[in-house]
């Protein structure tokens, strides 16, 4: 494996972490905002635009090769390890958030749609993945 590939993977992981954080915050706003305003139409448009905009920004300007998207693992041992640990953090976070929803859902059931809950779970997953990668990447 060449040094160029390693540097690409490091860059890709950094971009991926920030992209996950950005998407997590966006999805969190989308899932919570309709509760406050009783409408989700403007947020769906905003969410779609934010997703496409951030996707283009991170993928096109990311500087990594297109073949990266076909790899589910990193070749570098340390990057692959922290990626795997981050997914474990995601699963744990998802379990806790689902447990919280299970306990408190009766109070929210009338106002919350399935779309909002799905967005909330995705937001939790994205946020935890991004934070975990950045936290583990620190020197």
């Amino acid at each position: 494996m060449s040094n160029h590939d390693i540097k690409n993977e490091e860059k890709f992981m950094g971009q991926n972490a920030w992209f996950s954080l950005f998407m997590g915050v966006t999805l969190l706003i989308i899932s919570v905002y309709p509760l406050l305003t009783q409408t989700s139409a403007p947020l769906l448009f905003f969410g779609t635009a934010a997703f496409l905009g951030s996707f283009c920004m991170f993928v096109i300007r990311g500087g990594f090769t297109w073949k990266m998207k076909y790899h589910l693992t990193y070749k570098d041992e340390y990057l692959n390890t922290i990626d795997t640990i981050a997914y474990k953090h995601v699963v744990l976070g998802l379990l806790f958030s689902m447990g919280g929803v299970y306990l408190f859902s009766d109070d929210l059931a009338l106002e919350v749609s399935h779309t909002m809950m799905a967005s909330f779970y995705l937001a939790v997953m994205c946020l935890i993945y991004g934070v975990s990668i950045l936290w583990q990447s620190k020197d």
Binding site: M1, I6, E10, L79, S137
Partner: protein, 66 residues
């Protein structure tokens, strides 16, 4: 497990990035191995040892708890 990688690297006048480039791993791998936050595979341990021309046992020291 303890290791002397940082010591030998500095004696050789190498930065973490230069050592990482020499054995084709990321700089974070070297950084976290040196600070004992990450235990490398046998392959990486052998590559580091080969880079310094010394046996692996000189670089890595087992703790009693290991």
């Amino acid at each position: 497990m303890q290791n002397n990688i940082a010591k030998f690297r500095k004696e050789a006048g190498l930065s973490q990035q230069e050592l990482a480039d020499a054995i084709s791993v990321s700089r974070k791998t070297i950084s976290t191995v040196e600070t004992n936050r990450f235990t490398p595979s046998v392959i990486i341990a052998l590559k580091i040892a080969a880079n310094f021309n010394m046996p692996v046992e000189s670089l890595f020291i087992l703790d009693e708890a290991d």
